[in-house]
């Protein structure tokens, strides 16, 4: 089974073969990430929440491709910045557990700054 590191290595080859390194600054990659998220969101903008849980096979394949693009740019950005995404997520989940204590956050999605 492949890992994030494998995808990262595949992307590096892909970018190097096309001599795209000069374009791929973290600033530019952040923009590219935005663009892909925009394309992803377009699939969900006019449908209801329940429809979003029951996409057609065709829509799901399109969504999968958009999510892959988001993931690809996130991995490229992490690579350029020397960030380990898995470790970053672990650390952030622990921070979020402090920001959103179970007893205060149960059953509501209030922003931590609005929890009382």
């Amino acid at each position: 089974m492949k890992t994030i590191q494998d995808i990262q290595a595949m992307l590096e080859v892909f970018v190097n073969e096309r001599e795209w390194q000069p374009y791929q600054s973290p600033k530019n990659l952040a923009m590219a990430l935005t663009g892909e998220v925009g394309e992803l969101v377009e699939h969900f903008q006019w449908i209801s929440q329940s429809e979003s849980q029951a996409l057609s096979e065709e829509a799901l394949l399109e969504v999968k491709d958009e999510m892959a693009d988001v993931f690809i740019y996130l991995i490229r950005m992490a690579d350029k910045l020397g960030i380990d995404l898995i470790e970053a997520a672990e650390v952030k989940i622990e921070k979020n557990a402090v920001k959103y204590p179970i007893e205060k956050s149960k059953g509501n999605q209030l922003k931590y700054s609005k929890l009382t």
Copy 2:
């Protein structure tokens, strides 16, 4: 070493403990992803491309947290939709290799629809 599946499992516990499942439709998660990408981009909006390659330690830690948030919502969304992010990325890289043939794309970042 942890995998995406491990993070996915940690997130599921986190969400269940707070009874947040009803909020986390794919539609809503796509919006949350957007919000986090917006926060990530804010770190890069006024700096130059070369500055973005040499962030201060403080800025890098903030960026790491924002990228973690993007990753977290991407994993949640993939989980809800039954998408394997690693496999999706592999498939997309192959598609991109066809859309952007090396001989046509070398040294330029033209969109595939503008390649001649």
Copy 3:
């Protein structure tokens, strides 16, 4: 009553007083616009469509500020690029009327590329 041109002029004074012109390239302004849209979306991510039509007075004031920020960067960007937003919108509405003919689009939100 003030116009977009008045806001544009106010913004130019604001930016000049702070010597922010060097930061405000169209590329950077596009990023700033993204960041503000991300903040706007955060207000809507966990609520239902019907809740989004009945915001509390407090939420509405916050949303108003975020929309103002989006508008401000859109105006700055248009200014930098020599684009007249009102005229651009008029032209685009006409194009959209062709892309989405009434008889084909009535009652559905299919993307024009999927209309049959």
Copy 4:
């Protein structure tokens, strides 16, 4: 010369003719806005700041259309929420003047929370 109110009225006719009102909740419009901003950003993601100030005529026309789409959804959203964009911008510029005092912000783009 047309005003925002004129565009707003044109859009209402456009939406009503296509019976799209049920889709256009503020939540959904916020998502559509995101999608359009994503398309706008794509035009700037691989170019330099100085290139973004000297777009080709072709690129400028495409950017103009994307900015129009952003503006259109912003106007629709404001309409749905009863927000006057011009007044909102005026109020926000005054708030920003307090958050970013000239003497502290001159020549830097530090976030207000980092100003000393």
